[in-house]
Amino acid sequence: MSEQLAIELEGIDKRFGAVQANKDINLKVKKGSIHGIVGENGAGKSTLMSILYGFYHADGGEIRIDGKTVTIASSQAAIALGIGMVHQHFMLVENFTVLENVILGAEGGARLSKGIGRARAELKRLAADYDLKVDPDAITGDLPVGLQQRVEILKALFRGADILILDEPTGVLTPPEADHLFRILRVLRDEGKTVLLITHKLREIMAVTDEVSVMRRGEMVATRETSKTSMGELAELMVGRRVLLDVEKTPAQPGAPFLSVEGLNVRDARGVDVVKDVSFEVRAGEIVGIAGVSGNGQSELLEAIAGIRPARSGVVTIDGTRIDLAAARRDPAEIRSYGLAHVPEDRHRMGLVTRFHEYENAILGYHRDPACGRGAFLDLDAIRATARAGIEKYDIRPPDCALKTANFSGGNQQKIVLAREIERDPAVLLVGQPTRGVDIGAIEFIHKRLVALRDAGKAVLLVSVELDEVRALADRVLVMFDGRVVGERAPETAESELGLLMAGATQEAAE
């Protein structure tokens, strides 16, 4: 019975221009199992799943669902075959109610009234069967991400999905939310559904899957039974060599405080207090990590310190210079001049102009430096030389500073930003989500670079939603929840304890 196959892929090929995204992919997924697919970013996981969901058409190969050969020409065809997908970025209409989102595309008639009643009953049944409780009349955008994800799962089940594909489902979840998701997935499996879990987090693969397939550079390199493999083996298969999941570093030797923040308060455009009375310091030669679920004030904290976002009150001291953030509108260039560099969380929105050449981005924000030219004129030769030096030192590929920045991969784009900020020799480096959307090889490089900066006696403030990353890099961990720093812990602290703090459990309860 367990030998029945829900999905069988044979020789799937997909090419985007010069890039071979999927090469001769073979995959067998057993019915009623949770099957993981791991691989680095850009390994072709999402492309393969998009083919399975009818978003793209394979150039070649065969797909069999429940033993029957099929062509999946559209999402509609996939839905008809009982395939449901929970996308990494939720495909929800935020100002719709949960019910409206669930029935969209499966309304059951030109008039809504009948379908809505049926859907309400069906949701009740699904909630009971699979522990998927969501208020059907809540506005979707008001729900926490964990619940929004549940709405996505409900959408798929409502359409009668027997095969559920989840693409990086835990990226936005807190550890307790992720655990709840895994419980749901196990229930789904026990009810006979087949679950395909796409992720790059090995811990999740080990925790929840029955079998796991590894993709590397567009190819399916191995399939293992989860119980008979290890994180080490999977990691090695993913990158084709052994990687260090832990960052090697010596104990920190903190010196004088290079960055101190006192009583910082930030109110956002909606009039909500997003950073509340935050004080801390970062000493020379240490990395302080801020852990927290995204949206708890970390982004605003970084932006306020960097001078991008106005603060209501708060004093920041950078390398001995006292700056009252509320006294006058500070601009980022002024703050930078005191010795602070900033690697913003979202490199596309704030860190780079992706349509510019690489060398232009290599000096973005520093274009008034005497090294970049005189007066109104830019010294392009000097700028290109700077850019080439960065490319060499940070192993940015392809090594061509005339290329448009958009043509670099995520990891290499991040290295462009890092090279620009670190090479100006700042006393303090603010760095947000340094490895978001970055492949494992580059992650390793970036982590090493940050530790090297620390060892050179600089102060680093790291904000990341990846708890593993914060724990691996930081010498001290501050946890933010609802705009406040709710606790300070050593990085060795158990993940469960940090997770509770991140989820807003009171400090006493977490201790």
């Binding site: 999402s46 997908m85 969209l104 008039r111 009234s113």
Partner: protein
């Protein structure tokens, strides 16, 4: 005093009608994520087509049909540019406005040689006013009689169509499958696409709805409200309608009230022309005519709170390559 009020309100209804039709037209398109500043152009094109067809055939209904056909054609040009070819929606809208201004004047002069006018329409070639049952009998009843026989009765059929389009639009938007999908595609087309629904076809249907309503609005101007087409007869109504749409935050019933408000100001402006206002004296006509525009600016500049447009508005949908 009461009679004056009734008269002003009566003309408010007449003046609001084209605004209401055009604003509801815009609602369909913009709720689907296709911004349309070409309402003005579609209305103008439709007004010309309706005036010309009615004058030639002697039938107001054929005029209406011609107006709708031309308006749909222009809407499809906008759709082809913005949905199929993912062009800039603002540029396309502006282009359609220019096209309509130029083409109506040119063709009007070439066909009829009356300085861009179409020949005056009379009789069956123009929509006549309808008298509601008992309107005459109730005329003498105080208050209610005036309201019924002056305000509610005695309009042409397009006025009734315009006001009936309000509850109808609400019903379509919030009680039908098409409406649900329309609202969804304007907020998050990717959600619609992954649900297995064609974003393109949905948006085309939305701009066709826009075409139909703009066509009725145009026909109203040339073969119902006036007896023939005059050069540039829309005179910015398409833009006022757009303002009303934003002002009403893209909701059908508030759209009606916004249009009535603009129509009311217009009616007051006409009424006050050459009149002595106590304490002020004669108010310059231009000042009053500017009122709706000033009000629009003031209201949009912050008195109505943030008007959040459909989230996906203004951008063409491209399947992401992830």
């Amino acid at each position: 005093m009461f009679d004056t009020l009734i008269l002003i309100l009566d003309s408010t209804v007449r003046l609001s009608t084209p605004l209401l039709l055009a604003a509801l037209a815009g609602l369909y398109s913009e709720r689907s994520g296709v911004f349309d500043i070409g309402l003005e152009g579609k209305m103008l094109g439709a007004a010309f087509a309706a005036g010309a067809a009615a004058a030639v055939t002697g039938s107001a209904w054929i005029g209406l049909g011609a107006g709708i056909a031309v308006s749909i054609a222009l809407a499809l040009v906008h759709g082809f540019a913005c949905i199929t070819n993912r062009g800039n929606q603002i540029v396309s809208g502006v282009a359609i406005n220019f096209l309509a201004i130029g083409l109506t004047a040119l063709l009007g002069q070439d066909w009829f040689r009356q300085g861009g006018r179409t020949p005056p329409v009379t009789g069956d070639a123009r929509f006549e006013t309808l008298v509601l049952p008992f309107a005459d009998a109730l005329r003498e009843v105080p208050v209610i009689g005036g309201i019924y026989s002056e305000l509610l009765s005695g309009h042409n059929i397009l006025v009734y169509i315009a006001f009936l389009a309000v509850p109808f639009t609400w019903w379509v938007l919030f009680r039908t499958r098409f409406g649900l999908r329309l609202r969804a595609v304007g907020e998050n087309p990717a959600a619609v696409d992954t649900a297995g629904i064609s974003v393109t076809w949905l948006r085309y249907r939305a701009v066709i709805c826009t075409g139909i309503l703009c066509g009725i609005a145009g026909a109203y101007l040339s073969v119902a409200q006036s007896a023939g087409f005059i050069k540039d007869m829309t005179a910015g109504k398409g833009f006022i309608a757009l303002a009303a749409l934003i002002f009403a935050k893209w909701k059908p019933v508030p759209v009606m009230f916004a249009c009535l408000l603009f129509g009311f100001l217009d009616a007051v402006a006409i009424r006050l022309q050459g009149q002595q206002v106590p304490g002020i004296g004669e108010v310059p006509v231009q000042a009053i005519q500017a009122l709706p525009y000033i009000l629009t600016v003031v209201l949009l500049a912050g008195f109505i709170g943030r008007a959040v447009p459909p989230k996906a508005g203004g951008t063409a949908y491209v399947k992401e390559r992830s």
